[in-house]
C-alpha cells in the first residue's frame, strides 16, 4: 500500500521551489484554497515514521499525519534541496531524526499562536 505525506505550501515555500521540477507537481485542493505537495512512501518508510513519532497516525485518506512540525519543515527543506518528491527526500529526513526529535520535543511544549483577534 502507498501512504502519503502532505506538505502545505505558503508563499514562502512556493518561492523556494519556484522554477524547479517539483513546481509542476503542486496540487491545488479544496476549491483551489490550498496548495500542497504529496510525497508517496511504501510500508517500510511509513512504519519508520510511525515508530519515530508517538503522535503520528494514518488518517482515512492514507495520509501520514500528526508528525511534528519540525519533521514537516525538514521534509520541505529536503524537497527544495533535492527538487524531488521521491522516497529519497524522506530517507534524508529520517537520517536527521535525532536533530528533528530534539526540535520536536521543544515544540511539544509550545507553538506560537497565529496573530489573529479572538474574543
Amino acid at each position: 500500500m502507498e501512504y502519503i505525506l502532505e506538505v502545505f505550501l505558503d508563499d514562502y515555500r512556493l518561492s523556494k521551489i519556484k522554477g524547479s521540477p517539483v513546481e509542476n507537481q503542486i496540487e491545488a485542493v479544496f476549491g483551489g484554497e490550498l496548495k500542497v505537495l504529496r510525497v508517496k512512501v511504501g510500508e517500510e518508510l511509513k512504519n519508520e515514521i510511525l515508530k519515530a513519532f508517538e503522535t503520528a497516525r494514518i488518517d482515512s485518506r492514507a495520509c501520514i499525519t500528526d508528525t511534528p512540525v519540525a519533521f514537516k519543515r525538514a521534509l520541505f527543506e529536503e524537497i527544495a534541496k533535492q527538487k524531488s518528491l521521491g522516497e529519497g527526500v524522506v530517507k534524508a529526513v529520517l537520517a536527521r531524526i535525532e536533530e528533528i526529535k530534539e526540535l520536536a520535543a521543544k515544540e511539544s511544549e509550545y507553538l506560537p499562536p497565529p496573530d489573529i483577534e479572538t474574543d
Partner: protein, 459 residues
C-alpha cells in the same frame, strides 16, 4: 398522524439513576454520621499510565456519570459477577446491555492502609473535600492486563471487527491495563455536588435536566452527535444531514455531546471542543434553536463499537431519539474495521454478545442509529458532498481532523470550506491560553490537577 410520531425513549434500564444528595443540610448530616461512625476516607488519585506514569483517567468522572444518570442503569462500581457478565456478554446482571467495566480500583497499599471490608461505607474525597460515598458490597482482586484484553477482545476472539491486537498504543486498553488491582464494588452516592468551572459550567446538562430542556424546546425528536473534536465543515454537514431523519419531519434538535476527560496527545483541549461547537450555532451555521452543546465526563476508551454502545446508552438517557454514527466511530489506529460500529448496529457482532442489532436484542437500546458514510469536498460539485450521493469519487477531497491539525500546527489558517473562521478563532483563543493548540503532556498534567470542577466546603 400522531401514530407516526416517535416518542422519547425511556432511559436505558427503565429509570434514570440519580444518586446525588442535593439538599446540603441532609448531605451535611450524612457526612456527620459517617464521621461519627469513623468511616474510612479515601482521596481520589488519577490513574497513572502503567509504564509512563502520566495521568490516563480519573475515577471521579465515572462517579459523576453514574450518579447523574448518564450511565443508567449502572449505580456504582461493579461486583465481580457483574464484571464477568459485562466482559463475557456485554450485559449487566439485570440483563441490560452495557459495554464496559465500571470499577473503583485502589492499590494494595491503599487497601491495607484503609482497612476496609465488605459492608463498610467509604467516604471518597476529591481535591481534599468530601465528594461521594461508596457502600462496599464486595472487595476483589483483578489482573489489569487480563481486564484490558478481555474488555476489548482480539482478532482471534472477535474476528468480525477486530483487526489488530490491542496494545499500549491504544489509550483505552492502557486505561484498563493501568487500573489498580483491588476493586471496591458497590453503589456510589454524591454527597457534595461539585461546582463546574467555566466554560464547563454552561454546557453541563445531566440526563434529567436535558430531557426537561428538550421538552421546553419542543424537541419531539433529537439526534445525538458524538464528539471529541472541534468541528470541521465535514462534521457540520454530518450533523445537518443526519438530522434529516426524524419521524414525519427532520429531527427537531441536534444534541452535541462531547466526551470530556483525558484525551490522547494531538486531540484538542476540552475547553476548545465545547466552545468550538458552540461557535457553530452562535455564528448561525445551524440555528441555536436546533443545536445544543453538552458533555459527558468520561476518559474515552476509544472502543469503536463498544464505545458506540456506551454513547447510545448516554444519549438515550439524555432523551435522544436518534444517534448518528459515522466511519471510524470513537476509534484510534487500525484496531477495528472502519465500519465496526455500523456493523454492530445494523447486523450485530455475535462475538461481543450481539447476534442481532443492538436495538433488537433483549435488554438492548431504544435509540435509533442513523448510520452515515462520509462527507467530502467535491471540486466538481463545488460543495461538501455525501459519499453515497456524489459520483465524483475519483476527484473527491477528503477532510480529516488530522489534515486540519497539520494545517493548524504549521500556522496555516484552514480555508473556509474546511473549517469555519469562527471555529478557528476558538481554537486560537485556547491556543493562546495554553501555549499550544492541542493536548500535550503539560495540558494533561495541568488538567488532571485542576479538573473540570471545584468542591465547595461541606463540613
Amino acid at each position: 398522524m400522531s401514530e407516526l410520531y416517535f416518542k422519547r425513549p425511556m432511559p436505558h434500564g427503565g429509570k434514570l439513576v440519580e444518586r446525588v444528595i442535593t439538599d446540603r443540610k441532609i448531605a451535611r448530616k450524612f457526612l456527620e454520621s459517617c464521621t461519627r461512625t469513623k468511616c474510612p476516607v479515601y482521596d481520589i488519585k488519577p490513574t497513572l499510565h502503567y509504564k509512563r506514569g502520566v495521568p490516563v483517567r480519573n475515577v471521579y468522572r465515572e462517579i459523576m456519570s453514574v450518579c447523574y444518570g448518564f450511565f443508567s442503569p449502572v449505580e456504582g462500581s461493579m461486583t465481580s459477577a457483574e464484571l464477568e457478565s459485562v466482559l463475557s456478554k456485554r450485559r449487566l446482571l439485570s440483563g441490560w446491555v452495557f459495554p464496559y467495566p465500571i470499577l473503583f480500583d485502589i492499590s494494595k497499599e491503599d487497601y491495607k492502609a484503609l482497612g476496609v471490608s465488605e459492608g463498610d461505607r467509604l467516604i471518597i474525597r476529591l481535591k481534599g473535600k468530601p465528594f461521594a460515598i461508596l457502600d462496599i458490597e464486595e472487595i476483589y482482586e483483578i489482573d489489569p492486563e487480563e481486564l484490558a484484553n478481555r474488555t476489548f477482545g482480539s482478532p482471534e476472539t472477535n474476528p468480525e471487527v477486530v483487526r489488530e491486537k490491542f496494545d499500549d498504543k491504544h489509550p483505552g486498553w492502557v486505561i484498563y491495563r493501568s487500573h489498580n488491582p483491588i476493586i471496591l464494588a458497590g453503589k456510589y452516592t454524591i454527597i457534595n455536588e461539585p461546582i463546574f468551572k467555566p466554560p464547563f459550567d454552561r454546557f453541563w446538562l445531566p440526563p434529567r435536566k436535558c430531557r426537561e430542556v428538550m421538552e421546553q424546546k419542543g424537541w419531539r425528536t433529537a439526534i445525538a452527535h458524538q464528539t471529541r473534536n472541534v468541528p470541521h465543515v465535514g462534521h457540520e454537514f454530518l450533523m445537518k444531514n443526519a438530522a434529516y431523519t426524524g419521524d414525519v419531519e427532520p429531527c427537531h434538535g441536534i444534541l452535541v455531546n462531547a466526551i470530556i476527560g483525558v484525551k490522547r496527545r494531538g486531540d484538542y483541549p476540552d475547553e476548545a471542543i465545547l466552545e468550538a461547537h458552540e461557535a457553530v450555532h452562535k455564528a448561525g451555521y445551524i440555528k441555536p434553536e436546533r443545536h445544543m452543546v453538552t458533555y459527558t465526563l468520561w476518559d474515552m476508551r476509544y472502543g469503536n463499537p463498544l464505545e458506540s454502545l456506551l454513547h447510545g446508552i448516554i444519549r438515550q438517557n439524555m432523551g435522544c431519539t436518534h444517534h448518528m454514527f459515522g466511519r471510524d466511530h470513537a476509534a484510534v489506529g487500525e484496531y477495528y474495521d472502519k465500519f465496526a460500529t455500523q456493523i454492530l448496529w445494523l447486523k450485530g457482532i455475535p462475538s461481543y454478545g450481539f447476534d442481532k442489532p443492538v436495538n433488537e436484542v433483549e435488554g438492548g437500546l431504544l435509540i435509533r442509529p442513523q448510520n452515515m458514510r462520509e462527507f467530502w469536498y467535491c471540486p466538481v460539485c463545488k460543495e461538501m458532498a455525501y459519499s453515497e450521493n456524489c459520483n465524483h469519487s475519483k476527484e473527491k477531497e477528503k477532510l480529516s481532523g488530522s489534515l486540519i491539525r497539520g494545517l493548524v500546527a504549521e500556522g496555516v489558517q484552514p480555508p473556509v470550506v474546511i473549517m469555519r473562521p469562527e471555529v478557528f478563532k476558538v481554537v486560537v483563543k485556547w491556543w493562546k491560553k495554553f501555549g499550544y493548540p492541542f493536548v500535550n503532556e503539560k495540558y494533561v498534567q495541568w488538567k488532571e490537577e485542576e479538573l473540570e470542577v471545584d468542591l465547595p466546603d461541606l463540613d
